[in-house]
Symmetry: C2
Subunit: 346 residues, 2 copies
């Protein structure tokens, strides 16, 4: 038996928090203790890990004492407030919020893409945005064979991107509409059930919303391709848990379609889902609960000799958030990047 680590989850009661607990159990992460932290509102709840009941504690400076790894998934302002304190207490923070992603001191990691960036951490490692992760896992292996020149994407983002309460809201809205009642809107600005709308994140001066600019800027950072041309339209759709993306890739020369298929078939974190006879391709209901990003409908772009079109679906909560964070934690363990002082024996 190797070493075991003291892990804390910050934001344990959210949709991603729940998935983090599931994944640590499922993947048998080498931990000696698991501390569940949340806001005062959620503290006191109990959650289960490997049959053991754990009470959720209120986040505090003291709570990080003796912790080796913090998996933070409680939003940007919470991370801004607490991540530096956790680092000061000796922990490495894998942060799922957008707070530190574009900080040049902070590695932004998709383990299938840029695992080596983990060595550069100074206490905080950022987990990319869900839509970025799903796209990058699929585009990176192709980019390795022929550098991609331009990426155009349109997203089909599920309610889970706005959290567990948003998933519930879509169901409540759907039932209201089926009953001919007006759908309530608390989390989302507009009804999402039987409707859709451009992603409601803040709009930038260039007309892109923040969600779109995350995909643009984060992809450039993760690919270490600061001049990569990327444009995205992000749209929320009435799906519960998995995101989908229509992606157009432009290369500097034609990309043989069979080569693309072979590469994606063999790429980690990717599952090729293409049954051309049955007209069966990636769908959110099939991607939900899966670790792999499903990709299919790969075709030569008929509007551009050097273009490829493809379609993907991936679990927003799993690979789009919690799984990627746990994979980063596993990288820290594999590469023995946790401070020796912070290592406890199993």
């Amino acid at each position: 038996m190797g070493q075991a680590y003291r892990v804390a989850i910050l934001g344990a009661t959210g949709a991603v928090g729940a998935e983090l607990i599931t994944l640590l159990e499922e993947r048998n992460f080498p931990l000696s203790t698991l501390k569940l932290l949340a806001s005062p509102r959620s503290a006191g709840q109990t959650l289960t890990f490997k049959g053991e009941t754990i009470q959720v504690e209120e986040v505090s400076e003291a709570a990080f004492q003796g912790i080796d790894i913090v998996l933070a998934s409680a939003g940007g302002s919470v991370s801004k407030a607490w991540a530096p304190k956790a680092v000061k207490a000796g922990a490495v923070v894998v942060d799922n919020s957008s707070a530190y992603r574009m900080d040049p001191q902070v590695p932004l990691i998709v383990p299938e893409v840029n695992p080596d960036a983990v060595t550069q951490h100074q206490g905080i490692i950022a987990n990319p945005n869900c839509t970025t992760i799903l796209m990058n896992v699929v585009v990176w292996p192709l980019h390795q064979l022929q550098p991609v020149q331009r990426i155009l994407a349109a997203t089909y983002q599920s309610a889970s991107g706005a959290g567990a309460r948003a998933m519930e809201e879509v169901k409540v809205q759907a039932q209201a509409i089926l009953n001919d009642d007006p759908p309530p809107t608390e989390i989302f600005p507009y009804p999402l059930a039987f409707n859709l709308f451009p992603h409601n994140s803040d709009l930038n001066a260039n007309g892109y919303c923040t969600e779109e600019m995350k995909m643009v800027q984060e992809t450039r950072k993760i690919f270490n391709a600061p001049d990569l041309r990327v444009s995205v339209t992000c749209v929320r759709v009435p799906v519960l848990r998995a995101h989908s993306e229509a992606i157009n890739l432009e290369f500097s020369q034609p990309f043989p379609i069979e080569k693309a298929r072979t590469i994606l078939q063999d790429s980690p974190g990717v599952k090729l889902v293409e049954d051309w006879q049955a007209n069966y391709f990636p769908m959110p209901i099939d991607a939900s609960g899966q670790d792999d990003v499903l990709v299919g409908r790969i075709r030569q772009d008929i509007s551009h000799a050097n273009g490829l079109e493809l379609w993907l679906s991936g679990d927003q909560i799993r690979k789009g958030a919690a799984l990627n964070a746990v994979q980063i934690a596993e990288l820290l363990v594999e590469r023995q990047l946790l401070k020796p002082a912070a290592v406890a024996s199993a």
Copy 2:
């Protein structure tokens, strides 16, 4: 009072048929009689037009006698079987199916784009595919100022594209899922409620589905731009009645964004819906029941100096089908293109 015409609707009991009846009434189309035709299965039903009850008749050769205009919306095989007979009986057929769209003898018309093509008809005029119409109404006015070089689109297509029963199926599926029951699938190959999938039309050898190739080929024909580069990903989403599209346009030089906005604000059949403060843009629930295609989120493509990104929603049954067909019929009337022999006095 001008002339009045004897109109028949073939496929009167479908979703588009119902909308055709509504529109003929709403727009006070100059008709002297309205005949409602359908398959034997639907014959005998009664429908209402201007307070008058009309019994649906079974389609037959005799039924077209004395008819000036047939609005056909009963699918490709029905049009193939009956449109030539209606033409032989002296009627002009405005066909909503895909049967004749790419026939070089048949004009394919979006009245806001190529109304003059109506003069070339030889008995049949084709109504384009819903997604084509919505895209063309928006792209054409820009194309008039600066020819578009390439169009990339991703669609978000509502259930209505597969007919009235498909709209009902999505609601039944949603209720089943909310009740934790398995969703029934009769019309669609996979559950659409809380899910989505690439458009399930037949796949071509190039990897594009028929729905996508319709958008490509029909746009080229309507724009009279046989070499226009177009690529599309078509996706069905759990929305009831309006389609949305994320569209990327490439020009040969930069397209000033304010110019695009001004042009679209003044274009027929288009409504600019952009409240940047409120993050409010076109949505299917707002497009439903509207004649105009809603367009917004117009922005300079940050990945291409000559690119524009935009987003639209339009009523699939109305402008995407029935309204466009009635507008074509109105063009025939305005330009006095119906055979004099077939004209009755009002």
